[in-house]
Symmetry: C3
Subunit: 438 residues, 3 copies
């Protein structure tokens, strides 16, 4: 028996068990269900597959390198500096040509500063004084340029003056040219070379047309037609970001240049193109507030004949450009495909659940449907049936098919009802009597 049992067990392992369904001839719910199914299908096909490319394995860890190079010169003629020509080495900070670069458009120059003592600028609250006691020696001026020496310097017969400080003297004047000095920076051009690589797919590309024709890259400018000529006119860059170069030039600001690579590697490599977008990163709306614009101070250091150090302090206003590269590549892969299809189908289960709720609790005849859907297990008395169903005759007999004792009749009868056979008035059932009548 054991042997046979095992064999049976093994065989039964390969019986396919499928849910038993009840067909509810209820068009309302039926249609509802079809709608749900269709919308899930639409979602699966339309959203997951077409839009989100759910059949692809994707790589978002893009490796990118950005090299930037500016071109252009500006001529200025100011009292401090006289006639002066500015070239790349002068106005680009830092010079390395990385993904973040700053173009100076306006500046306050304070030449020949030396370590010395001089009056603090009158603009600084903490430095105002009426007597020396207001300037305790050795105390640094808050938000100021130096350390108080202990003297209060007054101009002429004023009762008020500013503290004398030890600092880089003379201190910077708080006035900046209304009109940007390097206004012509608008015509400078920047060449932005971006090379990317998707390590997972060993795919690399650059945003520069790979041509031997030097003159092309020497004279082209970026446009929808010249997508692979990444040479930008600064003025255009700013206007594309929704701003006016001359406005930004005087106060400074930050422009973001996003380069987006969204590559479908199931298509040809030529389909994988960079997409540029431009935006102003510092909030221009605070234009009025003191927090507006972008500027910083730096100095050039010199030594005079005696070897004494002096410097030229420059407060530089200008536009910082941040080149940000991001992207993702996708390539067909069977695993995500299966997963997405699978979970999509799994969603159907949720749809069915929803429709069941409608059918079983919101429909007029829901009571009846519940009856159909949920089959009582008629515990004790139906066990023989269960046993016999399994063809195990003895088991059935042991548990005993119901005798005709009245107390057990009702449940028993219910079996017969279940078989659609109609009871006689006296509760006895004809065909179980029939044999007797033979």
């Amino acid at each position: 028996m054991g042997q046979v049992g095992w064999k049976g067990l093994c065989l039964s392992l390969f019986d396919y068990k499928t849910e038993k369904y009840v067909i509810a001839k209820n068009k309302k719910v039926g249609i509802l269900y079809r709608v749900v199914q269709l919308s899930i299908l639409a979602y699966l096909v339309g959203w997951v597959f077409v839009v989100k490319k759910g059949y692809q394995d994707s790589d978002t860890s893009i490796q990118s390198s950005v090299i930037t190079k500016l071109k252009g010169v500006a001529f200025t003629n100011t009292s401090e500096l006289g006639e002066r020509l500015w070239d790349v080495a002068d106005y680009v900070i830092p010079p390395q040509g990385e993904n973040i670069f700053f173009v100076m458009t306006n500046l306050i120059v304070t030449p020949n500063q030396r370590q010395d003592t001089c009056p603090e600028s009158t603009g600084i609250r903490d430095a105002l004084c009426s007597k020396n006691r207001d300037c305790p020696a050795g105390e640094a001026v808050i938000a100021g340029n130096g350390v108080k020496t202990g003297r209060c310097l007054k101009v002429g017969s004023n009762t008020n003056g500013t503290c004398e400080i030890l600092a880089w003297c003379p201190v910077e004047k708080k006035s900046k040219p209304k009109k940007p000095l390097l206004a012509t920076a608008e015509n400078f051009t920047v060449y932005i070379k971006n090379s990317i690589r998707f390590p997972k797919f060993k795919f690399s590309k650059t945003n520069v047309l790979n041509t031997d024709n030097d003159s092309y890259l020497k004279h082209c400018h970026y446009s929808a037609q010249h997508l692979y000529c990444p040479i930008f006119h600064l003025g255009k860059l700013v206007s594309w970001a929704g701003n006016n170069f001359q406005d930004m030039a005087s106060e400074g600001g930050v422009i973001g240049i996003q380069i987006e690579w969204d590559c479908d590697l199931d298509k040809a490599a030529s389909e994988c193109n960079p997409h540029y977008s431009f935006s102003r990163l510092d909030n221009k709306f605070a234009e009025k507030s003191i927090s507006s614009g972008y500027n910083f101070r730096f100095a050039k250091y010199y030594r005079d004949a005696e070897g004494v150090e002096y410097r030229t302090l420059i407060k530089a206003y200008g536009i910082r450009f941040d080149v940000m590269v991001n992207g993702k590549a996708g390539k067909f892969n069977i695993i995500p495909t299966i997963i997405n299809v699978g979970s999509g189908l799994a969603l159907m289960g949720a749809g069915a659940f929803f429709c069941d709720v409608v059918l079983l609790y919101l429909m007029k005849k829901s009571n009846f449907y519940r009856g159909k859907k949920y089959e009582e297990d008629e515990n004790q008395n139906s066990s023989p049936r269960a046993a016999m169903l399994k063809g195990d005759f003895r088991a059935g007999m042991q548990k005993g098919p119901c005798p005709l004792s009245y107390d057990r009749l009702k449940p028993c009868r219910s079996i017969f009802w279940a078989t659609g056979v109609q009871p006689t008035e006296n509760g006895r059932v004809s065909h179980s009597a029939a044999p007797a009548s033979i």
Copy 2:
């Protein structure tokens, strides 16, 4: 017929098919299942929706720009430099005020270095020598400052010396002030302006109070009360990162300033606030090892009257601050909502699966429940029933309802069991005989 068939088919398309369930009056499993359902529901509501905001479409590709500006001056009085005042242009490197900035707190100055020959520093193993042959001309000193000239220089009557090298002479002395020179840098303040933008939702904000009241931003300091006054006291920054400024000042280190924007755009924009956190990025635990601290060398280049270049080498110790911005924004969107609800419900299926296993294999009466759950398809002999169910009489007849040949009796009988009709002892069944009796 075809026409009718098609019509039927079409209609049947809109019959709703729902799984047939068996009710197992087993309170244990029943309760278990309810618990599972409740926990899934709890997970769905509590975790997916409340915590993870699963009903929102999110944008993590934050666009951010950081502008930093330091304020403060320090006074030093050393033998090399004499009385000297350090201001922003002196101690901030690089000066541009980007998201990474370095504040010099201690330094070794080696002034007036010229291209010349001089003895290598005694600290360098490779430069130790006893005779000229130990210093092959033209060979670079490993981890040293120059190229050997071929001579071994000895001080006085020592038998050992160091190679003469061609280098920037004199070479740097390997001694650094125990006490940080710019200890007062602790009182410097830094203004960190951060503007962010979520392109997907066209939402932008800045961490600076948008006020016209200049004095506010001139005098406030960051605190829980002044969340929108991003002016930080360097000493506090370091202490918030769990370190002591003076300790870091002498050896240097790296402090990370994280700005987190976690915005729920279903709420008011004013609910979207920056959250600051501070941490030390270089591992302080290696304090003892040579790999500790943060320092670098840079030089200022000069020309003397003859136009000969000389330089001042500065080994700068200090604290580097890295401002890192990240964030995400969420806004209600129907698609993720449906997906999450759906997959949550789909999870119920898994729960049911789990409970089935318990019911069918771990329960005392599991044998019986299996019988209820799995209905045999009584292959050959029940096919007529199947056929008749579909009302296709002939088909049923062809396949033939079971004849009374004894060998086929058993399976046949099983049908009748299935119908709850009891066989007579001789295996004949009354009602199939009944018609004959008419």
Copy 3:
């Protein structure tokens, strides 16, 4: 009754309802289903759990700080500069030792440039002229070095010359040393210290062996054996990236150094190791095109005795190294575990769906299986059965079992078919007659 009803309802809440299954003795589909189940299980265990570690909660927001430090000196002997030694302060730009650093390997020096007038370089198309009118005064030379003064300068008896410009004079010569000046940079070493932190798990680590043995870090070099000695030989770095240092040195380029931290925090911290990979980021394939290589210009500014500014312009070619750190940490967490198991099981549903399609539409006997799977709800007439099933006898009676009126016979008959009872030719059914015969 109400009370009883509520009690019953409450109890019934804890009845476990399980789908009823039909066993299709179809080995083909059975095996198919088992295969599907096994593959889903394999996917779940193999892919989700073993490969993707689906049982872990992961943290990808790695906090990282990189400190780089170069060592090495180079000796050059050129006409412009004479004998010169280059040390770190000379060839590393910027000096701060951040995650992006540039090593100068070749350069064009233009010393003693002053603001003056001189002929534009002949290489620039826009500056070529035959008469003064070709050089409108004040116009900037496109892609040139200065602003035209209005004069056309010709050498000797040439009919063509170049415009005179106001610029930093003399202008740069367009010739660069074929052989890289600082070829010996190949032997420089760089020390890359990387400290990481996973905030969510409060786990931090560094890529430097935490030893007190200074000499180790002074003399080791990175290799598979010395994973925690992040000291790299520049030449090796470049070769690991698949390039030749000397080739890159003359034109310049960009090398990416990826440091990957993939940490399983369920294991010991010592199992969490950095993984280095090296790649060339600028596309070397464009070697020929003008867009190849990497170089930039910067200047050193001086003042002569009269305080007039002059500068040395340096066009620096070299290799930029970008250190990129990314990583993720995972730690066991119950929630993702449950989710993954759950959705894995939910996938089974999809598998069953698939097999059903096969069974019900592709199998020979699919017609029969459909009959088994889908149970008609025999609307009106079977309601009593449904009612009685629920043991509610009266309800059953009210709705009334089907009378023998002929119009209602067909549906009624279908019940009997369902019970496997055979009709007589005249449509009357024996056992419903039987009682009459009694």
